[in-house]
């Protein structure tokens, strides 16, 4: 059944401080809405459970990209189009620019926000593998103050995260120290445009003196939430890029992931594709090494 606008309250307190005061006054009562590309789909279909919504779209403090020599800080309501257009993100964090270009169409990218993608917490979220492999840190905000958590600890279960009832996702911090790393991102979906991924893998790695000195693997659609493959990373860290290492990493990945059968794919297909993506990256790493 079609959603009825009269059944949903939507308020725009205006400033970030006023939004935080509202969340503090009635923790858990209000659902923040930014670009609406997730919540409005549910609304249109008549299955939006939230009846009190508070607007974040148009709050300037949340739509910023700040660059220092050490890091890039992205406000939670920055759109994927903003990310695609940003020179430093294209140059220094190319996987993020590429993932942003894969998120739906131009009309979705002009509205969908990075913070919304993370808070929504889809296991298939396009930006998540990239943020995991770039070692992102999440900053939250509430009337009580701000705190930071590693993004790899942000999701706690299917569509669950560490945000308290009065907290908003405020910003995403990305360290700028991957210039020498070999970087990899591949999304496997039904078609190139508009498709939700069946499985996606992002990777950054550094090879020093013939062994893997650093590696981070971020995966989508292989677990109930976007997941860093820490056991697979452990199987690779300090190892030379031999056939045995690749086989051990494939085994570690298969032991670590828990994909499911759903309308988009099967668990078995996801497992097979995931190990092949990992191998593709490792062979590339062996062939090309870290970046010069």
């Amino acid at each position: 059944m079609r959603g009825n606008a009269e059944m949903h309250e939507l308020v725009a307190p205006g400033s970030l401080g006023a939004v935080l005061d509202l969340l503090a006054a009635q923790p858990g009562a209000w659902t923040p809405i930014a670009g609406g590309t997730e919540l409005m789909v549910a609304f249109s279909a008549g299955r939006l459970n939230a009846h009190k919504l508070v607007n974040l779209w148009g709050i300037p403090d949340l739509r910023t990209i700040e660059v220092t020599p050490e890091s890039v800080t992205i406000g939670a309501a920055t759109t994927f189009l903003d990310l695609r257009k940003h020179a430093v993100i294209n140059a220094e964090l190319p996987l993020l620019a590429r993932a942003a270009s894969w998120i739906g169409s131009v009309a979705n990218q002009s509205r969908a926000t990075l913070g919304g993608n993370l808070v929504n917490g889809s296991p298939a979220a396009d930006s998540s593998p990239v943020l995991l492999t770039y070692d992102a840190e999440i900053e939250t905000i509430s009337a009580r103050g701000r705190r930071k958590v590693p993004y790899s600890e942000f999701h706690t279960g299917y569509k669950r995260n560490v945000l308290a009832a009065d907290e908003l996702l405020y910003a995403i911090h990305l360290p700028l120290r991957f210039a020498r790393h070999r970087q990899y991102l591949r999304k496997v979906g039904t078609r190139r445009a508009m498709a939700i991924s069946k499985v996606a893998l992002a990777a950054t790695a550094l090879v020093e003196r013939g062994v893997i000195a650093e590696i981070r693997l971020g995966a989508a659609s292989l677990a109930p939430y976007p997941m860093r493959l820490k056991q697979t990373e452990a199987a690779l860290l300090g190892q030379p890029l031999t056939r045995e290492t690749v086989l051990a990493a494939r085994r570690a990945l298969l032991a670590e992931v828990q994909p499911i059968d759903d309308i988009r794919s099967t668990a078995e297909y996801r497992r097979r594709v995931a190990v092949n993506l990992l191998e593709e990256f490792l062979l590339e790493l062996r062939r090309e090494g870290s970046r010069p």
Binding site: A5, G104, A107, S110
Partner: protein
């Protein structure tokens, strides 16, 4: 507003102001009402179509503050203060927009349901990229589905409109004029 007796009086809802095709307007509607429905039901601008209602098909594409958006996914409160351009704002009185001319001449429209969205996505593309490559056209229209034409004639129409503005530079500003012309 229709007087069917069941609707709450308009005064119940906050005033929301924005500009549509250059005209300043004010509506009193539920803040969660979709921009698409406000355009069609309250402003009677029925050129904007509803297809999927979930941001996949692009039929409801309009331009908001110079960006392409799916109007089915915009709660009207978020349009407060914005400049909106719909398909009705493309032509200047009787003069069709170069894209509309090109769609006519190259068979870019069949049943017509997707056409307003296609035109708005193409207008957005040409505003940012006046001379798009084939790949850029495909990417610019990737969010707009057509079930009749097979897309090729639509892509050809956009290419033709881009080269028409190429040979006649005087036509190029039309893309931006329409928001302010009235």
């Amino acid at each position: 507003m229709r007087a069917n007796g069941k609707r709450k009086p308009d005064a119940h809802w906050p005033e929301i102001c924005f500009t549509v095709n250059g005209e300043s307007l004010k509506v009193c509607v539920p803040p969660m009402k979709r921009l698409l429905d406000v355009l069609r039901e309250d402003l009677h601008l029925t050129g904007t179509k509803e297809g999927c209602g979930e941001g996949e098909c692009g039929s409801c594409s309009v331009r908001m503050n110079g960006e392409l958006v799916n109007s089915c996914l915009v709660p009207v409160l978020q349009a407060e203060g914005s400049e909106i351009q719909t398909v009705e704002g493309l032509a200047l009185d009787d003069d069709l927009h170069p894209l509309q001319e090109a769609f006519l001449h190259h068979g870019g429209a069949q049943c017509g349901i997707c056409t307003p969205g296609m035109l708005m996505a193409a207008a957005q593309l040409l505003a940012n990229t006046p001379h798009p490559s084939d790949t850029e056209i495909r990417e610019g229209l990737a969010g707009n589905l057509c079930r009749c034409t097979g897309f090729i004639r639509i892509f050809e129409s956009v290419t033709a409109a881009a080269s028409a503005s190429d040979t006649d530079p005087a036509q190029e500003p039309l893309l931006e004029q329409t928001n302010h012309a009235r």
